[in-house]
Symmetry: C2
Subunit: 261 residues, 2 copies
């Protein structure tokens, strides 16, 4: 079983991105989708997207502390994103699956692009798998370079290459047993920018040589760190979207935003 | 049969967008995908994406005249996009299908988001169908307002509402028979910005009252004019991407760009 963990937050394109992602995931065998909304409650409209996939799923919510929540106008790199949501998923896995110990955990953001072939690659992971990620960190693809025996030699990251694991969240998946065996490991606001992945993988006691190279020895790109362009809205509408919890929307607008079923 | 016509042009995220779209379309029954590359030749890597869908498909190319081709740094609205590619598809349909006359034609761009339910809506179109489009023209959804009898009263577009059909290319589909019966109708560089849709629909002799309201009487959003954020690349790499035909890429880069199979 693949546990696909997706933090998701409200914005105009959230519904579009989740529907597009759900239509990709719906065709993946043995996938359990853990969706964690960055909100006070779970949304019925998102629940309905999950149900329509006919996948096994878990639908929970974990709201980002207000001090750590970015504003609509903030640049996307200002604060780490998805920390509390991914931790909620880790907690869920540890309480539900402490005896199961089988399966693979992958952190799959809601606006990335996933080639179906990525999921086949994950199924053979013993400890931790690694593969290239397209369009990230200023590169067309971030990827490890391998020794002749297939183990990881170094990484091609340009940004902060001194990180223990200078890779994106979408570049790896780990066996659930590691999550159970290291019960304290989670994401954190107290690590420097770009160190979430390193902090997590080091917490699991992983070293470079533990990484299993997938995707044809890391020569294929099966996942892209795409980003959906921020919606350009007329000014009063943007104001309403920023204060969506208090705003009054026309029925079609509320439906478009996923605020109504 | 739904003829889904997609112009597509080279850019870093092209392969990601096409794979994501192909995974949505692959599950749609009775869909024939007409993909027109804005290039001198068709690309094997795109042909391979098409083949993997197991859909019926047509893979052609039609390069935008250099005078009408936008530069990498141009704002996206500067010139009309997809004109020559959509015309190539119209030509293909008219030569291949002059006797068939059955099916529906839809212009579906490569970076939009399509809910599977949109395709069921299209199948019952007699002349022309219309539905809301999410996140376009400064609105959360552009949509027609209907009279009590279900026919179109007006449109909610904010931008150039004086257009005969102030709607997006993704807002309508037409019966193939109209294309065959109006052999001269095509897209054009000589119409004002934003008038491609109006020019085309007026050419087919359609009036507002011909439009069949779909998607639960235009109360549901099943397609979004999403845009994939332009990839931020380190400067020398951006230069190479702009001159990709002459540039030398590492194998992984070439694969990520779809320049190699
Ligand atoms: O306040 C936020 C911002 C982001 N996210 C989610 O965290 C993931 C990563 O965020 P984003 O895609 O904005 O980051 P980037 O692509 O820039 O790394 C996505 O699934 C988002 O929906 C979240 O839950 N709360
Ligand atoms: O030079 C170009 C620019 C765009 N397109 C295609 O035309 C469609 C519309 O373009 P785009 O999505 O960039 O336009 P927008 O979303 O801004 O209307 C897309 O399928 C593009 O791949 C093309 O064939 N050649
Ligand atoms: Mn993202
Ligand atoms: Mn587009």
């Amino acid at each position: 079983m693949i546990y696909f963990v997706t933090p998701t937050h409200f914005r105009p394109a959230q519904r579009a991105d989740l529907i597009r992602l759900s239509q990709t995931l719906a065709q993946v065998p043995n996938l359990h989708w853990i969706l964690i909304e960055d909100s006070d409650t779970t949304s019925p409209s998102i629940g309905e997207i999950l149900k329509r996939t006919r996948l096994q799923f878990t639908h929970i919510n974990a709201k980002t502390t207000s001090k750590k929540k970015m504003k609509y106008s903030d640049p996307s790199w200002k604060l780490p994103r998805g920390v509390e949501q991914r931790n909620a998923a880790l907690h869920w896995i540890r309480t539900q699956f402490s005896s199961l110990r089988r399966g693979v955990l992958y952190f799959g953001d809601d606006d990335n692009t996933y080639d179906w072939r990525l999921f086949s690659e994950m199924r053979t992971i013993k400890k931790a798998g690694i593969w290239p990620v397209g369009i990230v960190g200023g590169l067309l693809a971030e990827a490890p370079t391998l020794f002749d025996n297939g183990s990881v030699s170094h990484f091609n990251a340009l940004w902060k290459p001194e990180r223990p694991f200078p890779i994106d969240m979408a570049a790896f998946a780990v066996n659930i047993s590691l999550i159970i065996d290291h019960p304290g490991v989670e994401f954190s606001y107290s690590v420097p920018r770009g160190y979430q992945e390193s902090h997590f993988l080091q917490g699991l006691n992983l070293e470079k040589f533990d990484l299993e190279a997938k995707a044809d020895l890391c020569t294929k790109v099966y996942v892209w760190h795409t980003r959906t362009e921020k919606s350009v809205l007329e000014k009063p509408l943007e104001e309403k979207v920023i204060n969506f919890e208090e705003a009054d929307f026309a029925p079609l607008e509320a439906h478009a935003l996923g605020l109504e079923l």
